[in-house]
């Protein structure tokens, strides 16, 4: 382990106060000994930097997929007191409400007789990659509704069912959205991109439920072994990126105005209750809503392709759940025996609310929230359930993916996109992307093994394994 970091238990490590000057609380992160070998000093530094921010409660937390980002580390979680705490775009990221959703189908693997043809039809139906524009002509009024109502806008416009909304974190809409804090520039970027996937690590994947670990929870979530399902990973597109860019600028001024010392300029922030902090929060919530509407639109496009190709009913493809993994939210948590509202930042981390927690649909209240953890291209994804342990230890949070271990430049030198695609095809996985580099960038080898990361959160109890999903075909942006 890195100098200055101490072991705090099995799979648990502490960064003591003093690791960087000005830390108000310790840092704490969760890693197996094997994963600890891959830890970057930059990520530890960033976790310690977060601990210097005013009003941080208990500790600065790192999930087992922690890696070096900007501002917060990726896999970082921090909660702030509403009275003394701050809100920071560096704790959310440029891609506000980047998230994942999963829907199931009544199909089995044998039903997909022409998998390549089907993947191609999905690729054509969902605009993908750099410069891709939506076929949807979103009016300025519709854009406003997307930002105010989130997934509900999409459902009301005919792109989904009422039941879908109950299966989204926050019902697919943050009520605190304030569109006055969203610039004309952000709006201009949002208009042509509704229903587009984007690029980088965003994807749409056809998967098969290959293993069930928890029959009761799987049944409640609607998951059956051998069933075909579809996972969608994307965020708020250029609109969200612009909201982050715009507010970084105003919050930088605010950081000076409120005399907040910062170890990293990307951690620029403002008191949650300040006009600048409230404006960022309102704009961020609007961008988060846009992202929920976006994922709803993409799911609708995918469902139509399933309907067309396999003659199955729209209603037979229920949404399991939709989680966000880049967001700041006001949530109530227990601190020193008292329930207190906190501003919880999750930057590359997933909410993992346990049984009985608020915001769970009634039929899942006894089980816990579905937690969806995508694997890298070619490796398994997992469905887990939220736990009481996460509520006690991590403000109801767990990991969000597997975490990169290799840079994009290294990845491209190591293997061409064609080699990666051929290698995956040999395992029965079809990859479709706009260019070869997009495939090479996201080769399975550039990520930590998803199964190891998920095993750590399961062992610590931050979420509990329910099912394993194996990839069959993937569209990369």
């Amino acid at each position: 382990m890195l100098d200055g970091v101490t072991r705090a238990g099995v799979n648990e490590w502490e960064i003591p106060v003093g690791f960087v000057p000005g830390m108000r609380v310790p840092g704490r992160f969760f890693l197996s000994d094997a994963l600890a070998e891959l830890l970057e000093p930059g990520a530890v530094q960033q976790l310690a930097n977060v601990a210097t921010l005013p009003g941080i409660v208990r500790c600065s937390l790192g999930m087992p997929d922690i890696h070096w980002g900007y501002g917060f580390p990726i896999g970082g979680v921090a909660a702030f007191s509403l009275d003394e705490g701050v809100i920071s775009p560096g704790g959310v990221g440029f891609d506000i409400n980047c998230g994942v959703r999963l829907f199931t189908t009544p199909l089995k693997q044998a039903d997909i007789k022409k998998p390549r043809e089907f993947i191609e039809s999905l690729y054509k139906a969902v605009p993908t990659g750099v410069g891709a524009k939506s076929s949807l002509k979103v009016s300025p009024a519709a854009l406003t509704a997307m930002m105010e109502k989130g997934a509900r806008w999409a459902v009301e416009a005919g792109y989904g069912t009422q039941r879908d909304l109950a299966r989204c974190e926050e019902g697919g809409c943050m009520k605190q959205a304030d569109i006055r804090a969203v610039s004309a520039k952000a709006r201009a970027r949002g208009i042509p991109q509704g229903g587009t996937l984007g690029s980088g690590n965003h994807f749409l994947e056809i998967q098969v439920v290959s293993e069930i670990y928890d029959e009761t929870a799987a049944k409640a979530f609607g998951l059956l072994k051998g069933q075909i399902c579809c996972m969608i990973h994307c965020g708020s597109r250029g609109l969200g990126h612009q909201v982050c860019t715009d507010h970084l600028k105003t919050l930088e001024e605010a950081t000076k105005k409120y005399h907040i010392p910062l170890p990293d300029r990307q951690l620029t922030c403002a008191p949650i209750q300040s006009p600048e902090g409230k404006a960022y929060f309102g704009a961020m919530a609007a961008a988060a809503n846009y992202a929920w509407a976006n994922r709803q639109l993409i799911m609708h496009a995918a469902r139509l392709q399933f309907e067309r190709m396999f003659s199955i009913g729209y209603e037979s493809m229920p949404l399991v759940y939709d989680v966000t993994h880049n967001v700041a939210k006001i949530e109530e948590h227990t601190v020193d025996g008292h329930r207190v509202p906190l501003c919880v930042h999750r930057k590359g981390a997933t909410r993992s609310f346990g049984p009985g927690a608020p915001d769970l649909p009634r039929d899942l209240a006894a089980i816990g929230q579905p937690v969806i953890i995508p694997g890298s291209m070619g490796t398994s994804s997992f469905v887990l359930k939220g736990t009481a342990t996460a509520m006690e230890r991590t403000f109801g949070s767990t990991c969000h993916g597997s975490g990169r271990v290799m840079s994009r430049s290294q990845a491209k030198k190591r293997m061409t996109g064609k080699e990666v695609a051929d290698h995956l095809l040999a395992q029965g996985i079809i990859v479709r992307a706009p260019n070869e580099a997009a495939i090479a960038d996201e080769a399975p080898e550039v990520y930590k093994p998803s199964s190891e990361v998920v095993q750590v959160v399961h062992d610590i109890g931050l979420s509990a394994l329910v099912a394993r999903l194996s990839p069959l075909g993937v569209i990369k942006g």
């Binding site: 440029f94 891609d95 300029r265 271990v405």
Partner: protein, 135 residues
């Protein structure tokens, strides 16, 4: 081309070198276009950007953020950037062409320009920049 991609696990880290600050800003813009669209880019359509920054880092960050906005909203892909700096005022003329799906769908979207790890240094040979693009 006097920029290179450095190793960074999550994002794209660029190191650019140039004899002058103006050329350094141009190199950074070139690197941004390369990451997003690949190397096949031509000129013919000009776009002007004018802005003021508080310091050199914010001027560069604001400039590249503005390029991100323009490239997306105007659908333009740039091959050449001429930058003039006057104190903390920037005037840039970018030469480019409309986005062509076949030729330009070769890279990855950049979500934002980060201050984390941004560093502009000067030595006898000129200027060097390290900068992180969130992808």
């Amino acid at each position: 081309m006097s920029y290179e991609e450095l190793s960074h696990t999550a994002d794209v880290k660029i190191r650019a070198c140039a004899p002058t600050l103006e050329a350094l800003f141009g190199e950074a813009c070139g690197a941004l276009m390369q990451v997003m669209y690949g190397g096949d880019r031509s000129g013919g359509t000009e776009k002007t950007i004018d802005l003021d920054g508080k310091d050199l880092e914010s001027l560069l960050c604001d400039f590249l953020s503005e390029v991100l906005y323009v490239t997306e909203v105007d659908g333009l892909v740039f091959c050449r950037t001429d930058v003039c700096l006057d104190g903390t005022h920037l005037h840039a003329v970018l030469d480019g062409e409309p986005f062509d799906h076949e030729r330009h769908n070769k890279g990855t979207e950049v979500k934002g320009i980060s201050y984390s790890g941004m560093c502009i240094t000067r030595d006898a040979k000129g200027y060097m920049l390290d900068i992180l693009f969130d992808v």
